[in-house]
């Protein structure tokens, strides 16, 4: 409510972000404000329109357990307090067919011809608070969620006991509309499961179930409530006390996750088979209703926001922070902060804490009023530039311009360049210099690496954001692997020029590995696509020259994939062992002869 009224907040509901460009302190955002077909300001939310609307639809906000009209408001206290029309089903598309709502609307708020609006915003910081989603219970078919009506999810429990539901908060058994005498809660549905569902703990379901049992016991002390669990995780302030209270009011806790639910056809009661891991006995329990305590998952559209702001995802699909302990709010992209469940499953209190933290981190930047951006950008050496324009084609940010016809040298908008170095890697005339990651510096690193005992070493190029981070995580996790790898860090794998690879082989490298982010993960939009193309070309050329192409490896390793990094380190070491001294010398001869020509 405060959000709707606050003079400093412009609320853009029913809106999606189409594009974000720019950089820390200076983002330009394009937002599509979708047509509601109802004027948000004129609408008084009187509800007359709903009375006359002839179209009935399942209500998403009640999970389809109730209905709404084609003109609707998601719930009574919705902000903005304005109705909207679901145009897919509205008959008013053709005013001859209907138009009933427009006729009764006193403030004349209805406009069937309303169009989507594109708004452009300039902001200095962005807070990502895209939230999470709930897990699909159908993945665990032993619970027959789709088959037995009296098996519901904890999410549906919220709706069925909500004050907005037709029963006014009274939980009724779906098959006979009576208050159930007994009810079972099954924990960890979709959580802590390696096989089906997610390996992580969803964090909130234990406490949510405890809350649900207390709610039931408050209203109907006679209901027999039993919770089937692995461990009860009640670790927050006041949580253990709530757990105790539920035991005191008679909620039973059985340690064991049911393997199977079978319905009695006549009574529609449900029989759960469970191994009670406290007693070690297989037991059967009968209940009138079962609530599946479903876990939470990353939102399926996380990828969109990830792409818009070039963020990273962890192995579990939630967005990754800069540092797990020491920088848990900042996203890896400067000026972007994470709040709430997009980062990991958490309860309301933790979400609010992180949100205030994110606001505070954002304010630090805003109140400073200015920020220094890293000097790692590309620069043109005009004398060498032939205005071929390849750099323009490969730049993911469109920061380079060149007039091919006039043959004037390329020019770079420094503030738009993010420093991936792809232009420098692709330029055939050495006309682009990547600050702090120059050709000379990288060549010197290769020289130093292979000065002694080259046959024992693997030359590894790792991108700063993903692969290098994956290697760091392998270290943090104390994973062990052979010590043959020597890493050269570049900001992006797109920086790794052909000549670096040839130089490494010329200096005696048995194996070269280029590692970067997965395609959707690239911190420079899609610069790593150029890496792939370049490596494919290199493989062809190696083949032609008589050098075994597999001696050049390409791997996509994210910052979360410590296990993969370790596996790749073992694999490249095995590959290295197959490269003989003679093979290395032959390669060195082929490449040096070529250079001599």
């Amino acid at each position: 409510m405060d959000v709707g009224r606050h003079p400093k907040i412009k609320l853009l509901a029913y809106s999606e972000i189409e594009e974000i460009t720019g950089y820390i302190g200076n983002f330009h955002v394009k937002v599509r404000k979708k047509a509601r077909y109802v004027d948000e300001i004129a609408c008084t939310a009187c509800g007359e329109c709903v009375k006359v609307c002839p179209v009935v639809k399942p209500d998403e906000h009640q999970l389809g357990l109730a209905t709404r009209k084609a003109i609707y408001i998601p719930f009574a206290q919705a902000v903005p307090a304005s109705y909207l029309i679901d145009m897919e089903d509205c008959l008013g598309n053709n005013p001859i067919a209907c138009g009933a709502c427009a006729e009764v609307c006193d403030p004349r708020a209805i406009d069937y011809d309303q169009k989507d609006e594109i708004l452009e915003l300039d902001v200095g910081v962005a807070i990502v608070a895209t939230g999470m989603d709930v897990c699909d219970p159908t993945i665990l078919d032993e619970y027959r969620y789709t088959k037995y009506e009296n098996v519901i999810t904890s999410w549906e429990f919220e709706i069925l006991t909500g004050p907005g539901y037709v029963t006014r908060g009274e939980l009724l058994r779906p098959t006979d509309r009576k208050v159930p005498k007994s009810i079972a809660f099954v924990q960890c549905v979709g959580s802590r499961a390696e096989r089906r569902g997610n390996p992580y703990c969803s964090n909130i379901c234990c406490m949510n179930t405890i809350k649900d049992t207390l709610y039931l016991k408050e209203h109907h002390p006679e209901i027999d409530c039993t919770v089937f669990y692995m461990d009860i995780r009640a670790f927050g302030k006041g949580y253990e006390e709530l757990y105790k209270r539920s035991k005191e009011v008679g909620v039973k806790y059985i340690r064991g996750i049911p393997g199977d639910i079978v319905e009695d056809r006549k009574t529609r009661n449900l029989v759960l088979t469970v191994e009670n891991t406290t007693t070690g006995k297989i037991q059967r329990h009968e209940f009138e209703m079962v609530v599946l305590s479903i876990g939470v998952i990353p939102r399926p559209d996380t990828e969109t926001v990830q792409r818009l702001l070039t963020l990273s995802k962890a192995a579990d699909g939630f967005l990754m922070e800069t540092h797990y302990q020491l920088n848990p709010i900042d996203a890896p992209t400067g000026g972007v902060f994470l709040a709430g469940c997009c980062e990991s499953p958490k309860d309301i209190k933790a979400s609010v804490i992180q949100a205030s933290g994110a606001a505070s981190r954002a304010e630090t930047l805003l109140s400073a009023g200015k920020v220094k951006v890293e000097a790692i950008t590309s620069e043109v050496i005009p004398d060498l530039c032939k205005a071929c324009g390849i750099c323009v084609d490969v730049c993911p940010y469109g920061s380079i311009t060149v007039d091919r016809k006039a043959k004037t040298p390329a020019s770079i908008v420094e503030a738009a360049c993010k420093g991936c170095g792809t232009c420098g890697a692709e330029c055939r005339f050495d006309a682009l210099r990547m600050r702090h990651f120059t050709d000379d510096q990288i060549i010197a690193m290769i020289d130093a690496m292979f000065e002694e005992r080259p046959e024992e070493k693997v030359c590894i190029f790792a991108c700063n954001w993903c692969s290098y981070g994956g290697a760091d995580l392998a270290g943090l996790s104390r994973m062990q692997y052979p010590p043959s790898g020597r890493v050269i860090r570049t900001m992006c794998s797109g920086r790794v020029a052909e000549k670096f690879v040839w130089h490494a082989f010329r200096k005696g490298a048995p194996v070269v590995l280029i590692s970067g982010c997965h395609f959707a993960d690239c911190h420079y939009i899609d610069a790593n696509r150029w890496t792939q193309k370049r490596v494919e070309k290199l493989w062809d050329k190696m083949e032609q020259k008589g050098i075994r192409p597999e001696r050049l490896q390409l791997e996509w390793i994210s910052a979360a994939e410590a296990v993969k990094w370790t596996r790749v380190m073992h694999a490249v070491e095995e590959l290295r062992k197959t490269v003989t001294r003679e093979e290395i010398e032959e390669t060195m001869r082929i490449l040096s002869e070529e250079k001599g020509k």
Binding site: E16, N26, E158, G340, A359, G369, H436, A444
Partner: protein, 193 residues
């Protein structure tokens, strides 16, 4: 650049995190033999205040114009050491890091091989350091407005905090109303309200 590089190498033991697997004395001694390295020293924790003071002191005393710290990942402490160099009047881009912890001491157990690798890592870092150039960072203004994506409880809280602090906030929500998942919930734990 006309000025001959004068590199100082600071080898961090990180308590036993590095020193447990890598012979830091050997790495420190050996670093001195590398081209343009005029000084090297071992620290217990280079990132700690005494370690940083040593960097600043030796930049002045030994007239260093390049600094290499052999310690952990640059993703962790590169900003720390860049600041430290800047405090001592050295351009922060004349600093280079050699990761002998995450990429070496923590992932290998053979002391001899880990030490050999650590030396190589330092050597490669020094090779880059010799060619480092000072860079000027671009200072840009920060637009006085914030974008908040998502109008759930987290987005609402962040928006209110920023707006109360006086900043313009654009709160973008995909759904027709704000409230997010919390708007579906009846009672909340642990207060049952």
């Amino acid at each position: 650049m006309a000025e001959e590089p004068r590199i100082g190498v600071f080898v961090c033991e990180c308590g036993i995190n590095i020193a447990g697997t890598v012979d830091c004395d050997e790495v420190t001694e050996w670093a001195r033999t590398l081209p343009n390295v005029v000084f090297s020293v071992k620290n217990r924790y280079t990132c700690a205040e005494p370690g940083q003071q040593e960097i600043k002191r030796f930049i002045k005393e030994k007239n260093l114009n390049r600094v290499v710290v052999a310690s952990c990942t640059p993703r962790m402490h590169e900003p720390t050491f860049r600041r430290c160099c800047a405090d001592a009047g050295l351009n922060p881009y004349l600093f280079e890091m050699a990761n002998i912890r995450e990429h070496c001491s923590w992932v290998h157990s053979d002391r001899k091989k880990a030490t050999e690798k650590a030396k190589d890592i330092v050597k490669v870092a020094v090779a880059k350091a010799r060619l480092l150039e000072p860079q000027e960072e671009l200072e840009v203004p920060v637009t006085q407005a914030a974008l908040v994506i998502g109008g759930g409880i987290a987005g609402i809280q962040a928006s209110l905090d920023l707006a109360d602090a006086g900043y313009q906030v654009y709160l973008v929500e995909k759904e027709p109303t704000i409230g997010g998942l919390m708007s579906y919930i009846n009672k909340t734990f642990p207060t049952m309200d």
